[in-house]
């Protein structure tokens, strides 16, 4: 499996990265070299093997649904690059 420049562009879109032309070239080379290296895994028969997503057997961790103090709004928005009226400003999403 070899990634084309078009594949790289579509993965970049999924990744929300606006890559430069130069970056697309470099990444096409780098990623293809890594993918070649990943092929080594196909040597192993894993048809009877369960996947490991997590090494410790933790499933659902519940806590009591009790109200407790939340962080003050002024602090929560203090790192926002653009804030107004205690809200984060984002581009208008809905078309008028």
């Amino acid at each position: 499996m070899k990634l084309t420049r078009e594949d790289i562009e579509s993965v970049a879109y999924l990744s929300r990265l606006e890559l430069s032309e130069e970056e697309k070239d470099t990444l096409t080379g780098h990623i293809n070299r890594l993918l070649e290296n990943f092929e080594k895994l196909q040597e192993l028969d894993t048809s009877e093997v369960e996947p490991t997503s997590h090494v410790v057997p933790v499933f659902n961790v519940f806590r009591k649904d009790e109200p407790r103090p939340s962080l003050p709004v002024e602090e929560v928005i203090s790192n926002g690059p653009q804030v107004e009226d205690n809200c984060f400003v984002v581009p208008r999403v809905v078309e008028t």
Partner: protein, 511 residues
Amino acid sequence: MSMTDTRLCEMTIHELRDLLKAKQVSAVEIARSFIDRIEAVESRIKAFVTVTPELALEQAAIVDESIERGDDIGPLAGIPVAIKDNMCTRGTLTTCSSKILYNFKPIYDATVVDKLVRAGAVTIGKTNLDEFAMGSSTENSGFFVTHNPWNLDTVPGGSSGGSAAAVAADECAFALGSDTGGSIRQPASFCGVVGMKPTYGRVSRYGLVAFASSLDQIGPLTKDVTDCAIVMNAICGKDPLDSTSLDVPVPDFMKALVSDVRNLKIGVPKEFFGHGTDPEVESAVRAAIDLLVSLGAEAKEISMPSVDYGLPVYYIIAPAECSSNLARYDGVRYGHRTGTSTSPIFAKGGVSSNLPLTKGGVGGVVSLYQKTREEGFGPEVKQRIMIGTYALSAGYYDAYYLKAQKVRTLLRRDFEKAFEEFDVLITPTSPTVAFAIGERVDDPFAMKLADICTIPANLAGIPGISIPCGFKDGLPIGLQIMAKGLNEETLIRVAYTYEQHSGHHKEKPGI
């Protein structure tokens, strides 16, 4: 040793604690010694992204007041600590060495930071790392490169390179790092200090900026094994704010500081000695094993075939998890946002005149994300996000991500089998000593080989420690010891025994 013989900043935690308890020095004097040291050497080492001398002196003064009142102070009270800059510190910049978080000031402390501050530790600064902890040399920092105190032309290792260099250069008494594929142990090895990656889940990760959530773990970098035990006592334990932290009893790790390895069974897996292992590294590691055998341990060569697949498994799983974790950097809630950052670090196209806000519709918001992320992330981070996104995308999931997770199971089984027979596994921490700055930046595969011996412990979730075991051309060599999950005490006992009989930890770089 009287305090006039050794500068305070050169001392271990336990030496400083003894002086403080005997009221021979004050916490403020200790803090000043480290602040002076940072002023003297930091321009050459560049271990810190942010230094907080005023905060350190304030915290130290509080400890002194407490001592004055006659309070019983704990072992970390008044001890200066450096914190890797991917752990949240309330009110102090936490950048992950990434431009995308260049101005981020957390509004809460990470649980580990909270625990240390409550124990009276003095926070002296935030250390440099490979951007978002992705790298093996700290050369991927979005800001600057950190230099190895043993030879300024070489890398300190990574990603916790700033933490390791700061400990080695006596710019702090100890440091915290995070380890996803070796990021505590490998820089500890390169800088000649002690670095422990605890069992997955031992230490709360609340407030640690997530990279690969099934692998990340916080741990200490210290000047000796006793200090490692002291810090482990302070940071381990279940945290309601981290649902992956383990609800298991935490032992008193100080009790594991016993110089005795009689009847200890050591496995020496041959797969960790391939891959271009430097012969001098190999012989130092084998000499260390021989020393332990001379003290009553038994050692045997074994084979763990799945270890050879560790690197590809890691470079699928870690980027897959990172691509998901790093989706949060969107220029909305914190950090860089295209068109608004005025910092000179964005001189190259960062301040676009075309504010995406002016564009309506979905295109506007997507463009905001794309530009923000393009400007904020460095090349290594972009590459990993791309690989991870691809590995998780429809049609490729089974071939890459699922396959890697299955091979991860095989690797875990190999470790389980080995620990049926052996108490510990001993290997080099890294196949070589520290390499020259710039030497591997254009060869990503050579760079990744530096982590080949440390990655398996993360995949298996087991604890590992790196301790100094010799030198090559004036650069430290690291010995890695691994044990079964939750058996950090065994690691501490074996490492302590070796340390008591070797003395490498007492050597200091001549900076």
